[in-house]
């Protein structure tokens, strides 16, 4: 593993020298803080309906305007960050656990467990993700859980495949053979030798993945199977705001901008991390 050869102090030094990583990290931190402190930061109750102020443009009453039910857009954005990140992090955790476990098992065992896992991966890959999501949404009914389950279904094979290929090359490393020679049992080899050595490419992938998951949630919302009311989500806000793009652009714009900037943040962070963690990076 080439990525393995970076010390901790070097990491921060390289990190601070990578424009992408720093800008990305700043954006991600802001969004994450907004999500965590949504209850404090949101100026109003995001569900508060004010039928007399529907589509109120940005101004004193509502900093970023109000939506079709007169709810405060800024508050909904902040709470929306919460939902987006909740979905993203849940999906990531689930897919990482499943994907990494199965990927490691596949690579370690070779033989039939490998075939079984990789054929399953092939099948899932061959299903367009929207169809998977639609099917799951149809089964579970639309909602946060659906989005999480659907996106997890879509995402784990990628992680499993990546883990498998990383581990396949790792298991040729001498230190793995050394561990076997020392009498280390397989589960411990996976846990102590494989995992720490694949974690950084996984982190890179995860950080880029977060952006895509947030976007995927938005797309599912657009197709009507995303996270449901009363939970505000960016995707839902964009969907609701798009028809009114000309008469009242503030809703769609605010949500699109938040989504876009967050995507940019995670992507830059991921790209930056890739450069930072690659010892033969551009610099």
């Amino acid at each position: 593993m080439t990525t393995a050869a970076i010390s901790r102090s070097d990491f921060w030094l390289r990190f601070s020298h990578s424009k992408n990583a720093v800008i990305g990290a700043i954006i991600v931190t802001i969004v994450t803080l907004a999500a965590i402190f949504a209850p404090v930061l949101a100026p109003q109750d995001p569900g508060k309906v004010s039928i007399l102020f529907t589509w109120e443009p940005p101004g004193d009453r509502y900093t970023l305007g109000a939506d079709a039910l007169g709810r405060d857009v800024l508050s909904r954005l902040v709470w929306g960050a919460r939902v987006s990140l909740l979905v993203a992090f849940s999906v990531l955790s689930i897919t990482l656990v499943i994907g990494v476990t199965l990927g490691m098992i596949a690579a370690w065992s070779r033989g039939w467990p490998d075939s079984l896992i990789m054929r399953t991966v092939d099948v899932v890959f061959a299903f367009p993700e929207v169809i998977i999501a639609l099917l799951i949404a149809a089964v579970l009914g639309p909602g946060t859980l659906t989005v999480i389950v659907a996106l997890s279904m879509v995402w784990w094979p990628g992680i499993a495949r990546m883990t498998r290929s990383l581990v396949l090359s790792l298991r040729e490393e001498l230190f793995v053979e050394a561990a076997v020679a020392c009498g280390t049992p397989p589960w411990k080899i996976m846990w102590k030798h494989f995992l720490p050595n694949i974690i950084s490419p996984l982190i890179v992938r995860a950080s880029i993945g977060v952006g895509f998951i947030i976007m995927a949630e938005a797309t599912l919302s657009f197709l009507g199977i995303g996270v449901q009311e009363p939970m505000p989500t960016w995707g839902g806000m964009i969907r609701d705001g798009l028809p009114e793009l000309r008469s009242d652009p503030h809703l769609a714009l605010a949500a699109s901008a938040s989504l876009g900037i967050t995507m940019i943040g995670f992507n830059l962070l991921g790209d930056g991390l890739r450069d930072v963690l690659d010892p033969k990076g551009a610099r």
């Binding site: 054929r119 299903f127 799951i136 952006g211 197709l223 995507m263």
Partner: protein, 312 residues
Amino acid sequence: MPGYIARRIGGLLFIWFVAVLISFAALQFVPGDPILVLLSDQSGDAALEARLRADYGLDRSLPLQFIDYIGSIADGSFGLSYRFAGREVIEIIEGGMWITPLLAITALVIAVPLGVFLGIAAATRAGQLADTAIILLLVCGISIPNFALATTLVWLLSIKAGLLPVAGWGSFSQMILPVVVLTVPPVAYIARLTRSYMLEVFEKDYIRTARAKGVRDRLVVWRHALRNTLVPLLTSIGIIFGGLLSGSFVVETIFNIPGLGRIAIESIFARDYPVTMSVVLLFTVFYSLINLAVDLSYALIDPRIRLQGQSA
């Protein structure tokens, strides 16, 4: 080689079968019985309901229904649509069947060279301002949701400027906007991949060898480096194609293109399961065929792979 292809095709048949099985099974759990959808307001009428169930063979056991469906695939009709009384599924999907892959492949054919070009432009300027600018542009490219991009483009180019038709299918001008919207994310993705693969290849010993021979910088990049990045790039073509197929759902809806993506959404919402299953199967078929093509084309690009396929 023929043995290899036979084995691959066997694998494909298996995947297709599993795809049908999974979609069939999944649809059993979907709330919103197709018959209830047909009945709509009349869903209190038990006699009518029973009659309809019998008409569509839904009163039979699940294994029998599944066998029926497989049989209908074999005879090419793909079963009867629930939504369109008396119509075979093939009639409903045959119009859209080629539209979605056509769109996806067109987008791919544009995206790959463009993305590679941008990626190389960034890689050869690694660390410079131009590199940062290109990366930023690319990240923006993937960060704009396709439905937002589509809406904006329609407003600017079709309504304001009147240059292109808003929607529909059939003429070349109607293809432009959907293809552009579909192309943006893969361009960005391919460019970023190309950039990182290029940077990796630039470190390779054979690049140094080429320079030591006195080969011009431009040739070093385009001749010696590029071809070595194509193999890993090809690997991601499958994923990109999958993304394009998924993208077709939104793009076909917004641009009102009667392709498989729109048919899929309509049929799922209308609980027209035979159509849904057939569309799922077709998507799976397209996707796995592209992957097969990709695998076969490795050998064209990288001679090492050809030898492994033959002698080993």
